[in-house]
Symmetry: C2
Subunit: 396 residues, 2 copies
């Protein structure tokens, strides 16, 4: 069998995205085994195994792959495939691992299979692999409260301002607030769509989608003219969770689709973070239930810095640890207060620091590791002390 | 040495409560070693070891024990000592264990020592041991928001209605709201005071304290005319945590005394529960910080039933498991919905139940154990099924 050309591969993958719904394990399996061109050939011919043929039966005689590619190009978009350098291999690794595990563990019965995508239709000036390298999903209720929208926008803004990509679904409520917050910080933001690039859903957000596509990315597994359908939202949600380092749920009722995204993230071993709210709010009830149900796999977060603690931003900072890498003024007020509680020379216990700076000991204990990471303080067997660098820059 | 009479013991303990501040380890130690009468004799004579003498120095020549006992009696109160049958031995066990451990571990330097009380001045119609047998502390900010007061009152009401004693400090804000909620459910509630029984602080709550004393209890380690002082609040807080099965923090700023109570509860190995709130509220910031700082030792709670899950109410129900012990109508709406998702005959997986009742699988997983405890469902290797008793009472 001769090796297919890149153009043949691209056409085959484009064809597959139209003929089968995204997220179908048997098709992914076949493509992995024989490659997209041969997989498409067998499916077209009705020669694939039954599990695959049945998934493609209704549409296997359609061939609009070239048209779809042309239409994407007219829109300014493109098809990104696993063969392309910008394919987000790294970001999708956890999805692949979860897929392998669940296949072996026989969890095929789940409502959504954690199947990797066959290709991604993308629209926007950024490389797909790059934009997801440091990304966080911010998801939540469409029926968000003003509180939830405020917090989502604040998170979106804070994450984008720190160089992280905010990924969401472009829906009403929390999604849109998170995208808008990120745009306000001039950060790239990504909307993962449950339909095609031609008319992203909901149409009321056409302006928002244009802004997202101008600096960030619209991305979907479906061909340009595909319409969003109920089951496609669930399958889309797995991609939101898969492409990001963590999923933050801002508001969610007990039946919210955002909880489905969170559960999918947990199945992939990803961090799930929840923003609390009033216990009297039905739109926070799902977040609270999630935090209660999975206390070991979820974390309560209240602001962007806490989200970044969870996704390894701290790890990055550790590499720059040789001296204070941030001006003292850049610290949170609490951290600055704790820093001021350290003696100019010598060591102090957290309790003593608490006494000196008037911050509760618990908060001192919370603040010290962050200050350590930032190079301001260091732990010694006898207690905590300022680093030499911090002493040098200590205000008099 | 002849054995002291009960009256002598009572007088000695009354004297000790005036002469030394509560919570002082060396004095507790001496009393444990030689008994209250001999301990008082040595202290009066200036013959105790230095660590004890220094604590009693200023007041060791005062002897108002008989007057204090008479005054308590005039107020309708009494002194309860470890020699009395109503002494809350059981409730104080964790405090004693923590005291022993911290003494051995050399943690004497903590701002508040976890020292058991020498005696308790009490006012109210209930036996001290009884009222704390099923009790929960509800604590929080004096500067509570309307949201916090609403939630505290709701918790107080719900706990009292289920037969649990609500314990708090009688302060403005969360404390008072919790007491009032409990009183509204006609449940006993306890205020642990940082001063004496004569004029409980704050005086603006005189009416509230009268209502608490009418059906519940005012309790304090200090003699009747003692005034509340700053350090006495911290020492009082340890008693709130010590006497109860769990401490619920409803609202707390980052420097709130309620966080001190929570930390003391944690030092005693007690459950600490936190009620979340808006992340934009400074009065919830301390609760969120606590839940984040101690994810394994704290639990987010949103309503009374969740508090009771944590304090063993479930254990009690387990004993009554032979059949449905509560009418189906008594179930939470979600639990009822999940129950309706079980097939009349045969077993179903949680996912299948989720599909049948339209509740997310995560919530089904959360609801099933509670339904099991209540005798409605049972787990089998093949899935979940209705119990025989539940089938018999299933609505047609």
């Amino acid at each position: 069998m001769r090796r297919p050309s890149p153009a043949e591969v691209r056409l085959a993958r484009a064809w597959l995205t139209r003929v089968v719904e995204p997220g179908r394990g048997p098709v992914f399996e076949l493509v992995s085994d024989v490659g997209p061109v041969e997989a498409a050939r067998r499916m077209r011919a009705g020669a694939a195994e039954a599990a695959v043929s049945s998934l493609a039966a209704a549409r296997r005689r359609e061939d609009r792959a070239a048209d779809d590619l042309a239409q994407a190009e007219r829109l300014g978009g493109r098809l990104v495939t696993p063969e392309d350098p910008e394919w987000p291999d790294e970001a999708l690794r956890a999805l692949q691992v979860a897929y392998d595990r669940e296949r072996d563990g026989g969890r095929r019965g789940e409502p959504v299979e954690l199947t990797p995508p066959l290709a991604l239709w993308a629209l926007g000036p950024v490389r797909v692999a790059d934009v997801f390298a440091r990304s966080v999903a911010v998801v939540g209720s469409r029926n968000a409260t003003p509180y939830g929208e405020h917090v989502a926008a604040d998170l979106g803004h804070g994450l984008a301002a720190r160089g992280w990509t905010v990924v969401s679904g472009g829906a009403f409520g929390i999604d849109a607030a998170a995208h808008r917050g990120a745009l306000a910080a001039a950060g790239p933001t990504v909307a993962v769509l449950a339909g095609g690039l031609l008319s992203p859903y909901p149409q009321a957000h056409a302006g928002l989608f244009r802004r997202i596509a101008a600096d960030g990315l619209l991305v979907t597994e479906l061909p340009p003219d595909a319409t969003p359908q109920r089951h496609r939202f669930l399958v889309r949600n797995r991609l939101v969770a898969a492409l990001t380092a963590a999923t933050v749920v801002v508001e969610a009722g007990l039946r919210s689709g955002a909880l489905a995204t969170a559960r999918q993230a947990l199945r992939m071993g990803k961090r799930v973070l929840g923003v609390p709210g009033p216990v009297t709010s039905g739109e926070s009830a799902g977040v609270h239930a999630l935090l209660r149900a999975e206390p070991e796999l979820t974390t309560l977060v209240t602001r962007p810095a806490e989200v970044l603690e969870e996704v390894g931003a701290v790890g990055e900072l550790v590499e720059r640890r040789s001296g204070p890498v941030e001006p003292r003024d850049g610290l949170e007020p609490l951290a600055r207060q704790v820093l001021d509680g350290l003696p100019a020379l010598g060591v102090a216990s957290p309790d003593r620091i608490a006494g000196r700076c008037g911050v509760p000991a618990l908060d001192v204990l919370r603040a010290l590791p962050g200050l350590e990471v930032l190079g301001f303080v260091e732990a010694t067997p006898a207690g905590w002390q300022l680093t030499a660098a911090a002493r040098a820059t200590r205000p008099r």
